[in-house]
Symmetry: C2
Subunit: 331 residues, 2 copies
DNA sequence: CGATTATGTGAACACGTGTGCACATCGGGG
DNA sequence: CCCCGATGTGCACACGTGTTCACATAATCG
């Protein structure tokens, strides 16, 4: 009324309005609490009228679940990362968890994480390799469970979800071998990522088992442009009849470059990617690829979260996801 | 020690460890507070050792800024939406604000918003038209400022950032007219969105001023597939020499369809889009488009937030952003 | 009707922090 | 030596909620 800054409506205000005690208001908003139905209706009407909502901060202080989850997503430059982030956010929302999202890298990201850790988080979900050990260490001290995906994080109290990169690439390579391809090229991901090594070795080992070897080998940065550049600078491009890319973005770039260099896909040369990002099924692309299962990833993360919350002291868990071969028009 | 669930380290713990009062610990962590340097160092060492961080919930209860901002992003199906969300999150992080992200639509999203509103938010950023009036009403009752973008929201206490859609499309249309194009087609966005109408009228009015009119007119869903479908089902596709699309995704779909129908871009027919999503500059696409300025959008939102916080009672503000013509290879 | 139980409710405490206020200590000037 | 200002610091309160505990009232049974 007289105060200048509009103060937030509090349970005491509702109590006064409804002519009951403040405790009754609190009970009206807690699930299991006992309260005379008539009084509950009265309180709800008053609350509705005043636009009251229990203050989650005060409730959290009281020992209630905070329902806050931090997600560290890194740069989100990658298309796949953005899709995962979007699905993860929706999934958490549906589970009644509210994600605080932290992006970026370097010192700024480190500061951001340190500040967000001041909130009583129920978990920290890591979607980026950078800073992951630092973050998980800090979370460990605070008793905040960590769920890592993408990059495997081997530490106490850290649960992991990871795609079987090597097996997936083996399946993809097998597909092209059965199709009669023999002269393979490979565009790898940047060296820092664990997934890069696993995917590449999946290709090489499978080729080896059939007595084949890589005829060309380039390294990209997981971006479309880098896939394009890699193919444009390939010396023996014309000699290849199969090109496997460490992710879809580079495969899409490669498709454009192959067209420019006069190769026709798939008659002339087969191309497959990895991830199955949404662009892979665009009409003008129709990329054959290995699906890095986003829905499975999200539901696994939610499962791990659930299990961790029901038993905070349980041993670290590791969930492996299988990739599925998605046949489209480039194999 | 003896308690089973690892209790969070509290200021009292640090105080005991450092042999000081709890107040001193609190002061050690507040910017302007006075404390003997020697004692501060002592406290910081103890805090470091125990992994202590002030509990943001208790601090927020005390009247400290919560630094929490909600972002309602809707479905995030659109590529542009995902890019905006990513940049917005980074921008907020750099400003020391922690975004709670809410996605989805319908009743689930409504519930999610209602639950997140229990936290003492500093602002609600709306990136989706759906539910926007409901949400802004609820925020108004709670005294939470609302910043809307994309869809203009005309209500008290709501600040807006919006692109000059009509003027932008006029620029794009003008470009193609000057290039000698005369037989225009247009692929519109879905009817529900305000931007759809504005963009279309920008095209039509500009054509009209030159004595031209639309020769073909289809409606898509802002997706790549819908742009592709729209062009494939165009009866008089061969008669057109210019195609303007309400966004980049549909333009990219249209490019693929035009190629299938034997038209060559840009010799035969010009194509422009709207937004300048990251795929627009992919080597195999190189779409000429109108840049819906994401960086400007994000910095405007941050500015509005800043101004609103320094003067909560200020009048609603509306910031208009100009689109820039990005010349690539399809005009 | 008296006694016992079921039912509903209000007062009081706890959560962890920031901060106003009073107090202690110390140095220096008269 | 005494007094006063300056500088640090501890005590206590407030924030808004959930929940325990004791109590009041109504209902049921002997």
């Amino acid at each position: 009324m007289d105060s200048d800054a509009k103060r937030r409506v509090t349970a005491a205000d509702v109590a006064k309005r409804a002519g009951v005690s403040r405790s009754a208001v609190s009970r009206a908003f807690t699930e299991g609490a006992y309260l005379a139905p008539a009084k509950r209706a009265l309180i709800e009407a008053a609350a509705q009228e005043l636009g009251y909502r229990p203050n989650a901060m005060a409730a959290g202080l009281q020992g209630r679940r905070s329902n806050l989850i931090a997600i560290f997503v890194g740069e989100m430059a990658n298309e796949y990362d953005k899709e995962v982030a979007a699905k993860l956010i929706s999934g958490l929302n549906e589970a009644g968890k509210w994600p605080i999202v932290i992006g970026g890298s370097g010192d700024a990201a480190r500061d951001a994480v340190n500040n967000v850790l001041r909130y009583p988080l129920e978990a920290m979900i890591l979607r980026s390799g950078s800073l992951s050990t630092d973050i998980s260490e800090a979370c460990g001290k605070l008793g905040i469970p960590v769920i890592a995906s993408g990059r495997v994080l081997d530490a106490a109290g850290v649960d992991n979800v990871c795609c079987r990169n090597q097996e997936a690439m083996a399946k993809g390579t097998e597909l092209l071998i059965q199709r009669g391809r023999t002269r393979f090229g490979y565009i790898s991901g940047p060296a820092g990522f664990g997934a890069s090594a696993e995917r590449k070795s999946g290709v090489i080992e499978t080729l080896d088992m059939s007595g084949l070897a890589l005829h060309a080998d380039a390294t990209g940065a997981f971006t479309v442009q880098s896939g394009y550049d890699a193919v444009m600078s390939l010396p023996n491009c014309a000699a290849l009849d199969a090109l496997i890319c460490a992710n879809d973005a580079m495969a899409i770039g490669a498709l454009g470059a192959l067209r420019e260099r006069g190769r026709t896909v798939p008659e002339d040369i087969s191309v497959i990617g990895f991830d199955d990002i949404s662009m892979a099924k665009w009409p003008s692309i129709q990329l054959t690829t290995l699906r890095n299962p986003i829905n499975g990833l999200v539901s696994s993360i939610l499962d791990l979260l659930d299990r961790r919350q029901s038993d905070p002291a349980k041993a670290s868990e590791m969930i492996w996801l299988d990739a599925e071969v998605i046949l489209r028009a480039t194999h």
